[in-house]
Symmetry: C2
Subunit: 392 residues, 2 copies
């Protein structure tokens, strides 16, 4: 008799690893640390009173429906709302193409599950969103990074991705780079992807968080049959509800739905009804601008602090929306080695290397400007600059 049975792991489990960012965050959640490492929205933006009133109404008017099992596709009126909202942004889809997911992270998992075989090629930006790499990794793809510049991935470079199952792109205020793809680049990329028969997976958690002007139209609006589009309520309402959505071309939808059903039957109906109750009468029209105003002021504070404190040889582009600055330290710097020194000084950031599928730039780092107030942003950047100067 053996009391330690051989738990034999699936091969894919080798590709699952602790999130570097989450491990770092644990270290940097010490009181007193000015953490610019977070990927969280500001809790000051959560519409608590609207949520409270909506929860009350849902449990008063439709408790049996809200608390019962429900359709895997999602709550009908919420799917309708998503389709209408997207139509207003030039993306014409039927509500039957909208799948409500447990955060847009689940959308990434379902896309991976349905489209990636072991050894399949998957193309990604460089850098790209770490959570997408984590979602895709268990399906054992081979990654192809597509190089780019400040306007986005280079359309010519897309040829590198030919034969990939899809190219994963986060066009608006990307996590981590803050980059927003230009109108011209979007048009070029879609033309090139069509020529290559290369499907696109477009992830858009930050598109509403623009500071001066809305971003150019989505990739999906330019090629509805060739793009899976992912959206989220995490950044415009609250992430703790875990609600996002996938909009899929019709041939793909049934398999995503079946994968969803196998994964968790459906996303919480209570949450879906509460969100719909909050947003149904145009709440976001007034609410989202308050987030934009707040984040823009904090973006400005970080820009000023970076200009004031960072030594020569550092580079960054000022983001026109979203939550992040992406900083490149002077060549030869190592952001991972810098991190413990910065923490010793009392601030934290995320080293950029984690955001590359391959060929990481060790001198890059990500700074969030949304969860720390302007005064502490100034202090945090000053501490970062001091740590950096000591290492040189």
């Amino acid at each position: 008799m053996n009391s330690n049975p051989p738990w034999q792991m699936a091969r894919r489990a080798q590709r699952m690893n602790p999130s570097v960012i989450r491990e770092i965050l644990k270290v940097t959640e010490r009181p007193g640390i000015i953490s610019l490492a977070g990927g969280l929205p500001s809790a000051d933006t959560f519409p608590v009173e609207a949520m409270r009133a909506a929860s009350e109404r849902v449990l008063r008017d439709t408790p049996r429906e809200a608390l019962q099992y429900a359709a895997s596709e999602g709550y009908g009126p919420l799917r309708d709302w998503v389709a209408e909202q997207l139509a207003g942004q030039g993306l014409k889809v039927d509500a039957s193409q909208v799948l409500i997911t447990t955060g847009s992270q689940q959308g990434l998992d379902l896309v991976g599950k349905v489209l990636i075989d072991a050894g399949s090629r998957v193309a990604v930006e460089s850098p790209t969103y770490l959570g997408a790499l984590q979602a895709f990794n268990p399906y054992e793809p081979e990654y192809q990074s597509v190089p780019g510049d400040d306007d986005g991935p280079l359309a010519d470079a897309l040829a590198l991705a030919q034969g990939a199952r899809f190219f994963y792109v986060l066009p608006n205020f990307q996590n981590p780079s803050g980059r927003c793809l230009s109108e011209t680049r979007r048009a070029e990329l879609v033309t090139q992807a069509q020529a290559l028969d290369l499907p696109l997976v477009e992830d858009n958690p930050y598109g509403d968080l623009w500071f001066d002007a809305p971003p150019p139209a989505s990739l999906a609006s330019r090629w509805s049959e060739g793009v899976v589009y992912l959206g989220s309520f995490s950044k415009v309402l609250a992430p703790g509800l875990r609600l996002g959505y996938v909009v899929a071309p019709k041939p793909l939808f049934p398999k995503l739905l079946q994968a969803k059903q196998a994964a968790d039957l459906h996303s919480p109906g209570f949450n879906q009804r509460v969100v719909h109750e909050v947003i149904r009468d145009g709440f976001l029209r007034d609410h989202v601008p308050t987030i934009r105003t707040r984040y823009k002021a904090q973006r400005d504070a970080m820009r000023a602090a970076l200009e004031r404190h960072m030594p020569a040889g550092c580079h960054w582009t000022v983001p026109s929306g979203g939550m992040f600055f992406w900083v490149e330290l002077p060549a030869g710097s190592d952001a991972m080695a810098l991190l413990p020194k910065a923490v010793a000084h009392g601030m934290a950031f995320v080293p950029g290397a984690a955001f590359y599928a391959d060929h990481p730039k060790p001198n890059s780092l990500r700074l969030s400007f949304v969860t720390v107030d302007a005064e502490r942003i100034e202090q945090g950047i000053a501490l970062l600059a001091r740590a950096l100067k000591e290492t040189r």
Copy 2:
């Protein structure tokens, strides 16, 4: 330029199919149909007022925490509660082994993701829970059914499962069969599994719904290193919250956690705090007995109706808990062919064939006694008997 790109599906997508049960339910949700086909708990058991008060308190006292991103492991006090609750049932685990999931369906998906390679053997009961087959299918296992009798899977037959990644068992009031494994059978199965180095995955959504006496101790309490245990809040509170949990042996926990993080980051923190707020002071001690009383009366109504109406040659065992009767029609009957006739008469059930990994018994069917009142149960069974008599 090709405007219809080649969406190439992963091979595993071939193993994803629409749920037979969900498709049937769509047909049978017509008004006027007495549906005994559901797998839903009774909405009359949902503690709406307690949920309302808890939601109010959570949004009053900890809105920022409840609505923000949170730990992938789950809400600490809820993990503690689960560990304490299980200790009271003889299953001693540390809260660090408890992973909160988006329904126990997600627990099944994560178990499959971490433990099943394409072609791995997975052993299951005969019949087994359809949702588990759906969760495991995308990981492309080969199934081995383990035959059994009214006391559970036959311990001797477990040798058939040698070399399997695990044996999936639902010991308490199984969906679909209603079967509860006897004390003797549990002891034999665990001894045999240990001898075979065969890990067990124990699914326990219905264990609290006993009518006369609690079921024997869990398999996990007899072999803590060799059993993954899954539980759920769906049947004792409400399924629309989508909260369940996995309790894993320590060597397995980190991979399940990483799979969870990749799948949806974490289950909704708001829901976890609301559930904890509802149950923290012993709410379930008074609430669950009200569910037992209700379901037992409806079980009795269905037993009486079956005895009164069903023709000779039909067999069923009276379940001592849970939600289902499992009926075997006379040999040669085909429950799938019977279903449209039953619907024409005004009632619905689920044909049993969907619940077998292989060698389905076409003459079996599942009846739920919890969502329809006693009077309509009587009517529904009378209609079933009438449809059956007409086909013979």
